[in-house]
């Protein structure tokens, strides 16, 4: 069956460092992968989308990579700030697939 894995343990980092979150998947051939941010008590908010034929996408301090051979996406936040603390979700979709979400990884940036 299709499976999306995100680290269930919270990632704790110091302000100014680069945060790297991982999204792995199996039994999938997604046309695209998305990353969302979710704050407590709120709905997810879209951050970035990367297509299967793209290796890397950047937006301000955010960078996403997509390796369809490894079936993995890495999400980087450079120069992290306490305001970046949130849960980050990856979602896969495309073709006949309705977007399917991972469970998310909590990021905590310490001042």
């Amino acid at each position: 069956s299709q499976k999306i894995e995100q680290n269930s343990e919270a990632l704790n980092i110091q302000e100014g460092k680069t945060a790297t979150l991982t999204c792995n998947y199996t039994n999938y051939s997604p046309a695209y992968l998305q990353w969302y941010r979710q704050d407590p008590g709120r709905g997810p908010v879209f951050l970035l989308l990367i297509r299967e034929n793209e290796k890397e996408k950047r937006k301000e301090r955010l960078k996403v990579t997509f390796d369809t051979t490894l079936k993995q996406s890495l999400f980087h936040i450079t120069a992290s700030q306490p305001a970046d603390s949130a849960t980050y979700l990856c979602a896969l979709g495309g073709g006949s697939y309705i977007p399917t979400f991972g469970r998310g990884t909590s990021l905590i940036v310490h001042p």
Binding site: A31, Y32, Q34, G41, R42, G43, P44, V45, F46, L49, R51, L89, A91, G93, G94, G95, S96, Y97, I98, P99, T100, F101, G102, R103, G104
Partner: protein, 115 residues
């Protein structure tokens, strides 16, 4: 939030009663989705709609039904609420899906407690 409203925002109901959650959008997007979010499970798709009167089941559709009689409204009904349906429910919309990939916009969520 991108023109998407969920109601009610909070609801407490008794086991066995029917419950309807409403999702209203002002974006005229074609696709609408209902997800539930539970600790340890993340977001799971309940039902989705790809047009007026066009709906399909998601991963966890048992015990739920949906209706979409207008582009802007997508209703989720729990026919007979059970405690296992206590959750936070999110509605999402997107203009397209499938290969025409694009982002989904989420509502604020409805916290439903079944006692």
């Amino acid at each position: 939030d991108a023109g998407i409203t969920q109601s009610p925002r909070h609801k407490v109901t008794e086991t066995g009663t029917p419950v309807t959650l409403r999702c209203h959008q002002t974006e005229n997007h074609r696709y609408m989705y209902w997800y539930r979010q539970d600790p340890g499970h993340g977001l799971r798709l309940i039902h989705y709609s790809y047009g007026v009167k066009d709906t399909d089941k998601g991963e966890v559709s048992d015990g739920y039904s949906v209706s979409r009689s207008k582009t802007e409204d997508f209703l989720l009904t729990l026919e007979s609420a059970t405690s296992s349906q206590t959750s936070v429910y999110f509605c999402a919309i997107s203009p397209t899906s499938g290969t025409e990939n694009t982002e989904a916009f989420f509502g604020q969520g409805t916290r439903l407690t079944v006692v």
